[in-house]
């Protein structure tokens, strides 16, 4: 059995080399890829040979370049799902990856459900029977709490808002349907302008959710990591090391960094926003002072703090000030310059933190693995990928429902009749129900009978 529609999802959110892959499967996947992707050689993907690798750009609806990408085409049946499969490898980091995914939706793909690629592979006979159980397990996976929390990020925060919009639309639909199903009953007439205004209001509400909250904040901005420490401990060096750049100026003069430097990185699959700032110390320099004040406020805002202590110098008052700042915070303590002879007395630090203290050196590349382990322990990598897709799916649903509400207003404007207003609004309700898990038919009918006195 061939599934009609084409599904799309992030296959690997962040590869080791900073590459994210979007995978599509279905009859139209090549056509959809062709719409969003322009090859360097300007040739259509439709005629591209099977298993070919094509360089080019993903462009938005206006033809603006979103990202540089490589497309891999696997034609049916020689693919994992036995359907036409296209993989788009993107290089532009998380934001671009999201944008490319969105583009595939705009071009006609729909978000894949959990385990759907595997399910299709199975249904199309790609996997053998013994694997059926595994597929079933994926579909009805018991969700770990962390995953659940990530997936429901949108719903957790905004479900009450969505439910409110849904209620309002439901009320309008029920009123129209009551008039349609019981035209000879004593149901008050509809003032079409009022309905129009009400719909407009709900569109605004939905748009608001979409604008503000629909993207998992975590994923849009990455995990905020504040790198703090007294001057000259090697904060900027660490930032440069992790970003593989010369983004921050590094000198052996304490107080080099005066401003806040934010850099977005893909740390082996985990999106991080590294924040380097002025070393914290007492100073008379007004500019440095402002920098330090700002640093303190960034520390408050961070998801995780890397607190750096210089192994090659002895523990100082400035270091104890750092310990004060990180009290009760999610913190990773790093002893920098571990390639140099240790002078620091770590007693005070260990007293302070139960977490292990990790010595690192960017000169000898040591300790970086431990940093990675620490972070992935804090945030399950899977949960990020799921919420990434989950939120994208939700925002698609929301913007589709806005489209239907707008169509309802068009129907009003063109005087097509209440029936059409209701049909469009019901399509919107149908979508809201996907988010809130309620059923439309019964709800409309219940609402009719509870609100309107109807009957012979």
């Amino acid at each position: 059995m061939k599934q009609g529609d084409t599904i799309s999802a992030v296959a690997t959110a962040f590869g080791t080399a900073g590459i994210g892959i979007i995978r599509m499967s279905g009859e139209n996947s090549i056509a959809i890829a062709d719409k969003v992707f322009t090859a360097m050689n300007n040739k259509s993907l439709m005629t591209a040979p099977d298993r070919s690798v094509i360089f080019g750009h993903v462009k938005d609806a206006n033809g603006e370049i979103i990202d540089e990408a490589i497309v891999l085409i696997m034609r049916s049946p020689k693919s994992y799902t036995m359907e036409n499969v296209v993989e788009i490898q993107c290089h532009g980091g998380v934001e671009a990856l999201r944008a490319v995914l969105r583009r595939t939706f705009e071009a006609g793909a729909r978000p894949a459900e959990r385990g759907e690629f595997t399910k299709r592979a199975f249904l199309n006979g790609r996997l053998d029977l013994s694997q059926a159980q595994a597929v079933l397990d994926i579909i009805q996976a018991k969700t770990p709490t962390a995953l659940k929390a990530a997936e429901n990020q949108l719903l957790g925060k905004t479900s009450s808002q969505i439910k409110k919009i849904r209620r309002e639309i439901l009320k309008i639909v029920a009123h129209i349907e009551a008039l349609i199903d019981f035209p000879e009953d004593d149901v008050e007439d509809i003032v079409i302008n009022e309905i129009d205004k009400k719909i407009e209001l709900q569109i605004e509400e939905a748009q608001e959710i979409l604008n503000n909250q629909h993207r998992g904040k975590l994923l849009r901005e990455g995990l905020k990591v504040a790198i703090i420490g007294k001057p000259n401990v090697g904060k900027s060096s660490l930032l440069n090391y992790l970003t593989q750049s010369e983004r921050a100026i590094v000198t052996d003069i304490p107080g080099t960094t005066r401003d806040v430097i934010e850099e977005f990185i893909d740390f082996r699959g985990i999106p991080l926003k590294l924040i380097d700032m002025a070393g914290i110390r007492d100073t008379d320099n007004p500019i440095e002072k402002i920098g330090i004040n700002r640093a303190v406020s960034y520390i408050e805002d961070a998801d995780i703090i890397f607190a750096l202590f210089d192994i090659s110098r002895s523990f100082s008052d400035e270091d104890s000030r750092i310990l004060d700042l990180i009290r009760n915070r999610q913190v990773l303590i790093l002893l920098t310059k571990s390639d140099l002879p240790a002078k620091i007395n770590t007693m005070r630090i260990k007293e302070y933190s139960k977490e292990e203290v990790i010595p690192i050196s960017i000169k000898t590349d040591s300790g970086i693995d431990s940093i990675f382990k620490f972070i992935s322990k804090k945030i399950e990598k899977d949960s990020l990928e799921m919420s990434f897709v989950g939120n994208e799916r939700e925002s698609i649903i929301l913007s589709d429902s806005i489209k239907h509400m707008k169509e309802a207003r068009d129907a009003i404007e063109h005087d097509l009749g209440l029936d059409f207003v209701s049909i469009d609004l019901r399509s919107a309700l149908e979508l809201f129900s996907k988010l809130t898990g309620e059923s439309v038919d019964e709800d409309v009918i219940d609402e009719i009978f509870s609100k309107f006195c109807i009957g012979k």
Binding site: I180, D185, D186, G417, D419, D441, I454
Partner: protein
Amino acid sequence: MFLEDRYDVIVIGAGHAGIEAALATARLGCKTLLATLSLENLAMMPCNPSIGGPAKGNLVREVDALGGEMGVAADKTCIQFRTLNTGKGFAVQALRAQADKRMYQFFMKSVCENTCNLDLKQLLIEDIITENDKIIGVTTETNETFLANAVILASGTYLGGRIIIGESIFNGGPNGQRAANKLSDSLKNCGIRLMRFKTGTPARVDGRTIDFSKMEIQCGVDENQNFSFITETPVINKAVCYLTYTNKRTHDILKKNLHRAPMANGVIEGVGPRYCPSIESKIIRFPDKDRHQLFLEPEGLGTQEFYVQGMSTSMPADVQIEFLRTIPGLENVKIMRHGYAIEYDCIDPLQLKQTLEFKNIAGLFSAGQSNGSSGYEEAAAQGIIAGINAAAFVKNTEPLILKRSEGYIGVLIDDLVTKGTDEPYRMLTSRAEYRLLLRHDNADIRLTPHAIRIGLASPERVEKFKTKITEIEVASNKLNETRITPCKEINEKLKSVDIGEIHTTMPIADLIKRPGVTYEKLRKIFDLPNISRNSAKQIEISLFYSGYIQKQSELADKMLNLEKISIPDDINYNLIQNLRFEAKEKLSKIRPCSIGQATRISGVSPADISVLIVWLKSIPKK
């Protein structure tokens, strides 16, 4: 026990379901017995004298399109017609008519009496006889046995009927009829689950005691429309209805006597329909409403009886007359029949297949109010399907299962057998997800091909249908082939019939997509065939609303893919580990025949459906 006769099909009950069922089987060549408690009351309308309305009118048209009788009878015997919802969109427009109840019954009786293969008998059936989970016949009160290959239960509200008027309670069917008390036990003994439902009706009052001058007149509208696609003559309006309102005094009397209302004091156990509340429950549920409307509707031309629409009640007789007399125009009214509530047994429709055959008793079908529905039209719709499928069962041919995208009949039956119902089920347009496709104007295009294939369409119907289809085809082709380019001559031509200028080359079909442009207008200025008004309307509707219609067709097609994945009869849901408990329970109970049907079962999640699809794939093909 005395063996009276042998039939192909026996239909129990000659109400709106039974008649359509029996006519269908007889017309399809099955030797049929139509058994009724009282030959006087065949095709009786025990409730309001009205046929059609939104969704219900579509059902009448669909029954007609399939070769049924209800539409023809309504056209012949109705005395007032109105098209409803005219301003709200063409898909929800519906015809509704006031019936002359006696004339309707006479007409139907004579149709039955003049149908070949059909025996009409006054009998009270008390037992159904089964053998190895298969129906073999029925036994009557007078101990006669009739054998049959198939039996259709169409017993309406007669099963274990109990009439309640205030404190007076007695066994009986509607309108002073007998009840069928023993059949319920017989069904239960066959392992059939029954439910107890309730419905009610208002008083009938004497027209000579009504002061119509205090009421608003509701006239019919001379519609150029019929229920039946084969009726030629236009309908004639011969009667009017009257509108008046309750007031505070009416409500006070009802409130004062609420403790005597059977539904308040616990006498009634059955579940009543929400869309047909008694006046006493309206007062309770909508305390802020200071008046409720009521219509006085003639029960027929040859009678003074008027039906008090909107005032359904089971209050005691003395309260009924007291509150009616507070209403303007009814100050001196005399009641001819009291309003009453009726409780009755019906089967839980979840036990039925989509053919309306019982899953556990081969050859036993059920249709109409005994399936938990309400309304004449809903009954007739199930009746004709049960008839068609009983005949298919007897002849061992393909059954007819209408899809939800094919007809309100499909929605009705699918809802009943998939979702079940906890109140008498009424058809509503809001229950249909593809109502733009299920318009009353295209019922013949949707369903008459089935009737022709099955053999239920009369030669006259076949002829009319083919003419219409050809007209539409020829005219549509012409509309698409005739292309016009913007030039002075064309634009002036268009202007002569009030059509705005064109700016690009287009087929003239595109002009119909503009508001106000009709086929007739275009025919004045272009060379187009002269076709019937109905054919022209089909073309106009499908062009003007093509965007919306297209969208719903696509949705319907998508759903169809899921309907095509069938689920074997013998599947054991308990073996599928990954189904959630609730899903296992529901699926085991309802036993859907396809994945599509399974998606509509409440409590079965999309993940369960995925699991089911994968599971089906994993069982080895036989």
